[in-house]
Each structure stands twice: as C-alpha cells, then as structure tokens.
C-alpha cells in the first residue's frame, strides 16, 4: 500500500473522522501543540544557545543537560502526541502539503543531529563542561539544531496556508 493509500485509509477511520468533525477537539489539540511549543522549543533553544556559548555561560553544560533537557523531552512527548493527532484528523492535507513534507524531513534531520551529537562531542562533555564557549563541534550541533527547529516552526505554521495548490 502506498503512503497516499495509507493516508486515504486513515482519513476514513472513525477516530480521524471524530476529531475532524468535533467542534472542540481540533482547537484544543492545536492550542496544546502551540502551548507546548514554548516548553519544547523554548527549552531546546536555551540548550542550543548554551552549546553555542551564547547564553548561561556560567552554567556547566552537564547541569543544563541534567536539569533542563528533561523538560525539553517532556515537551517533545506532548508535541509528538498532539502533532500526530493533528495529522491523523486530516491525513490527506498533511500528505499533499509541501510545508508538511519539509517539516517532516527536517524533523528527521533534527533527530540525526541529536544522534550524532550524543555519539561524538556530547560524549566528552566532562572535558568542556565549564567552557564559556564550547568547542566548535558542539557549537555546530547547537547551531544546526537551532536552525532546524526554527525552520520546523516556520513550516509548521505555514501548513495552514496552501499557496501551491489551486484549491483554497
């Protein structure tokens, strides 16, 4: 079955139809998605900026990792759940939307960046824990993450607009 086929099938399932047709479900889920953006993106931003040596420079990176990063993880879980529901209630809109596709691609890239960071320079945090400005590899990881999440937010907001198809 093609991805399009899966999306078409999903949009006919009772759960999808129920959320889509409910007056309150969509605004509530979407509001949660935006609200928890503050938690997830706000906290991740502070972490990225710390990796770049641009904020909280007197705070050890390990301290940020232990005390702050768990909040980003919590925020991400809520974002993932509400985001999945938003796609689930109208899968074909997501499937056909170029901004959604770009967002999905960049989410994967952001995941790869996290993976690479924790496999490389992130393993050696004790060596640069209290550096006011972390080493280039860490600054790069922070900058890549920051740029990707900013673009993900941009694309996420623009999914609401359909500039590229004739139908409005």
């Amino acid at each position: 079955m093609s991805l399009r086929g899966i999306c078409e099938w999903l949009s006919t399932t009772p759960g999808s139809v129920a959320i889509h047709e409910s007056v309150w479900a969509y605004p509530i889920i979407e509001s949660l998605h935006v609200l928890f953006l503050c938690l997830f993106a706000g906290v991740i931003l502070m972490w990225d900026l710390r990796l770049m040596g641009l904020v909280l420079r007197r705070t050890p990176v390990s301290e940020m990792s232990v005390r702050v990063l768990p909040w980003a993880v919590a925020g991400f879980i809520v974002m993932a759940i509400t985001g999945t529901l938003l796609v689930y209630q109208e899968p074909m809109r997501a499937y056909e939307n170029p901004f959604f596709r770009a967002k999905a691609l960049m989410l994967i890239l952001a995941g790869v960046n996290v993976f690479v960071f924790h496999r490389t320079i992130g393993r050696r945090i004790p060596k640069w824990d209290v550096d006011l400005v972390p080493p280039p590899r860490a600054r790069l990881a922070g900058g890549v993450s920051l740029s990707l999440w900013a673009m993900i937010i941009v694309c996420g907001r623009l999914i609401a607009y359909n500039w590229f198809s004739g139908a409005h």
Partner: protein, 159 residues
C-alpha cells in the same frame, strides 16, 4: 467611551489594508510571532523553573535571570512589534473577539508583574530574605499569566 472608532481606524489604515491584501504578509508576521513565542517561552521558563526549584538550582537565581534577560526583552519586543502589525490588519475582528480582550488583560498583567514584582523578588532572592515558598508563588503567578496570554492568543485565531 467606545474604542471601536480607534479599532476601525486601525483596520482602515494604509498599513492594515496593505497587510490584509497581501497573500503572504499575514502568514510571515504569524511566523515571526510564533518564533518569538518560542524564545519568550524559553526565557520565562528558565526563570520560573528555577523559582520552582525545578531548573538550574545550583546557579544563583539572579544569574539565571540576568543571563536570560536579553532574550526575554528581545523576544517581547519582537512579539509586540509583530503582534501590532497582525492586530492592525484585523482590528475589527479583534474588537468583537472576547479572546483578544482576555489576551490584552493577561498581557498587561504579565508585563507589569514580570517587571515589578518578579524583578524585585529576583533582585532580593539571593540575600535569603525571601523563602522558597514565596519564590514558588511568584513563579506560579508568572507562569499562569503568560500561559493565559498564550492560550487567549491562540484562541483569537478560532472564530
């Protein structure tokens, strides 16, 4: 005195109609507003989580607040600038939308609280005159006010 004439004037202004008639200006302003929201969220949370004892507890509160302040102020200014432009393009809709008035009330309270009460408490926090419960309370009030701004703001988009 009704504010409706003022709102109508905003809506009919050159700026308002320019933004309204462009297919991409409103969305771009929304994007800027949303990006700044993430930044202000981060700055507010770093301070409030620290006040709750759930954040960077080993760093002095004053230091956390001072380090994140440029981001708090910068993002707030960006929110206000992009918000004003969004507003003038649909001022009359805002006038008749309850959520808009809720948002403005919460915003006023949040700004006043942040730059008077919270700022004052942070300045004195490390001198031990202020107990952990007082810090938690101030953090909680700040979080409720800012959350109110966000929720009401999102609600303006739903008719």
């Amino acid at each position: 005195m009704s504010l409706l004439p003022f709102f109508t004037w905003c809506e009919n202004s050159g700026l308002g109609s320019t933004i309204r008639s462009s297919p991409w200006m409103f969305p771009i302003l929304e994007v800027v507003h949303l990006l700044a929201l993430a930044v202000i969220g981060g700055a507010v949370l770093m301070i409030n989580l620290r006040m709750f004892g759930l954040g960077l507890n080993r760093q002095p509160l004053r230091e956390v607040a001072a380090d994140t302040r440029p981001f708090l102020i910068g993002s707030l200014l960006m929110m206000i600038a992009s918000g004003l432009l969004l507003f003038v393009s649909e001022a009359i809709k805002c006038y008749y939308h309850g959520a808009f008035w809720f948002k403005m009330a919460f915003l006023l309270l949040a700004i006043v609280f942040t730059f008077t009460v919270q700022r004052g408490v942070i300045a004195r926090a490390d001198s031990k005159n202020i107990g952990p419960m007082a810090l938690k309370l101030v953090g909680l009030v700040s979080l409720i006010l800012w959350t109110g701004v966000g929720v009401a703001g999102r609600w303006i988009g739903f008719s």
